[in-house]
């Protein structure tokens, strides 16, 4: 098994990194390239760059940012936002991304994940699923464009993506987004529905939240965005905290430890 990953998320709106709060409010952070370089220095295990308005605005996540960021990155980078064609996937990979994630297009074009996985390999193609806990407490697949939940049960959709050849699934808890009250452990439990790695996103507020979710579930990694843009060396601090109780993450290299 690979070690559990602590992943730094960068939410962007076009050229600007933002903090996202419950998918409703966005606070500007600054240049995404600077954030990516900080995450790299702080020994994030991976960086996820997500343009949260690209699909709604009919754009693609910025290739310029990826190009500039990867010039100095020594950390794997997964990007997404607005991907609709195989040619765009190729462009993003050539711009320096290691993997891409697909959300809306996976639902709208049944063949897309299959084709992308066939061409670039499953390890390169990640699915992003927004999940909302509804009033009854049920976890439902959420469409951020229409701001409504969808009928397909979450695990059915995860298994469907796996069959189409997806290499990893990111489950993003919309209701926990930006709240910093901890990961949704019930959502994390759904990781065991599939054999591909599952990553959890939304709600991280401190090192203990990572410890909780790693000990309670099978997830391969956990993301934080707002938490890691709050303070200097935030990722190293969290890793130090998690390492105290969970040896199954990557140790810090001496330069930052």
């Amino acid at each position: 098994m690979a070690l559990r990953r602590i992943i730094g998320t960068i939410f962007t709106r076009g050229p600007l990194a933002v903090q996202s709060i419950a998918f409703k409010r966005h606070l500007p952070v600054g240049d995404p390239v600077v954030v990516a370089e900080a995450y790299d220095q702080w020994q994030a295990d991976e960086i996820v760059l997500a343009d949260i308005t690209a699909t709604a605005e009919g754009r693609l996540v910025s290739r310029d940012i990826i190009n500039r960021a990867t010039r100095h990155l020594r950390t794997p980078l997964t990007v997404g936002g607005g991907i609709q064609t195989i040619a765009q996937v190729e462009d993003l990979l050539r711009s320096g991304a290691d993997r891409v994630f697909i959300n809306t297009t996976a639902r709208e074009k049944e063949q897309f994940v299959h084709d992308a996985a066939q061409f670039f390999g499953s390890q390169c193609i990640v699915a992003w699923i927004d999940v909302l806990r509804d009033a009854s407490g049920a976890l439902r697949v959420y469409d951020h464009l229409t701001r409504s939940t969808l009928g397909t049960p979450l695990e059915d959709w995860m298994r469907e993506l796996e069959q189409r050849g997806i290499g990893e699934i990111i489950l993003h808890a919309v209701h926990a987004d930006g709240q910093m009250q901890g990961f949704d452990l019930k959502l994390a439990a759904h990781a065991s529905a599939v054999a591909v790695p599952v990553i959890l996103s939304g709600g991280a507020g401190c090192a203990q939240h990572f410890q909780e979710v790693f000990s309670a579930s099978q997830i391969a990694g956990a993301c934080a965005g707002n938490l890691f843009t709050h303070s200097e060396c935030a990722i190293t601090a969290v890793k130090r905290g998690v390492l105290a109780s969970t040896p199954a993450i990557r140790p810090l290299h001496a330069s930052a430890a």
């Binding site: 098994m1 690979a2 070690l3 559990r4 990953r5 790299d40 020994q43 295990d45 991976e46 190009n67 990867t70 010039r71 100095h72 990155l73 020594r74 950390t75 794997p76 990979l93 050539r94 711009s95 320096g96 991304a97 290691d98 993997r99 066939q118 061409f119 670039f120 390999g121 499953s122 390890q123 390169c124 290499g167 990893e168 054999a195 591909v196 790695p197 391969a220 990694g221 990557r250 140790p251 290299h253 330069s255």
Partner: protein, 205 residues
């Protein structure tokens, strides 16, 4: 004099990150598909992301298959294959039955067993050197297939239950299943080790 690296560009693979990593290591990298650049380089890097048959078709299409075989096997030019780039050193892969690889190393590329971990295998893993190279470290992996190699070519193994070759070496040919260009400090140390191997084989004026 700075060493010259030819990073083979055949349309698949993240050549930009590899190029930047070599630049930081003090090498003069050139991303190229030209036979002349390959002939002039002190060493080659064969990156690769994607699927075995797509990559072999791309190499064939760029007219590179025989150029690489000649440079690596006949001229014994040092080469580093990264991830799929290393897998292409094999004659065949379970990923693409019937498709011929470069056939430079013994062994077969096989699908990772699903009963001892996720497929794809994505993330960081501890790697143990089986010789005195000192390349032990924690590296980033992203793959669904692994190189099933005779032990005499293996110089490092992945740690844990699903133990597979992480690094191969046979004469001038070195391959790693992980991505040194994405493995932060461990990756930089690995590339530094690779460069000492290149220098020891080809002392520069």
């Amino acid at each position: 004099m700075r060493m010259r690296a030819a990073i083979i560009d055949y349309g698949v693979g993240n050549v930009g990150s590899v190029s930047q990593a070599l630049l930081r290591a003090g090498v003069k990298p050139r991303v190229t598909s030209a036979a002349q650049d390959i002939a002039q380089a002190d060493f080659l890097v064969l990156p690769g992301v994607g699927e075995f048959s797509t990559a072999m078709k791309a190499l064939d299409g760029a007219g590179l298959t025989d150029v690489l075989r000649m440079a690596i096997r006949d001229e014994e030019k040092p080469v580093l294959g990264i991830c799929l780039g290393m897998q292409l050193f094999a004659s065949e892969s379970e990923e693409s039955p019937g498709v011929r690889g470069l056939g430079l190393l013994e062994g077969t590329v096989r699908r990772l067993p699903a009963d001892k971990g996720t497929v794809p295998n994505t993330g960081w893993m501890d790697v143990r050197a089986t010789n005195r190279s000192g390349i032990d470290g924690c590296y980033y992996f992203s793959h669904s297939y692994y190189y099933d190699s005779p032990p005499d070519q293996v110089i490092a193994l992945s740690d844990g239950q699903r133990c597979f070759p992480a690094c191969l070496r046979w004469k001038n040919i070195i391959g790693c299943q992980f991505h040194p260009e994405k493995s932060q400090t461990s990756g930089e140390l690995f590339l530094a080790w690779f460069l000492t191997v290149v220098r020891s084989r080809h002392p520069l004026p």
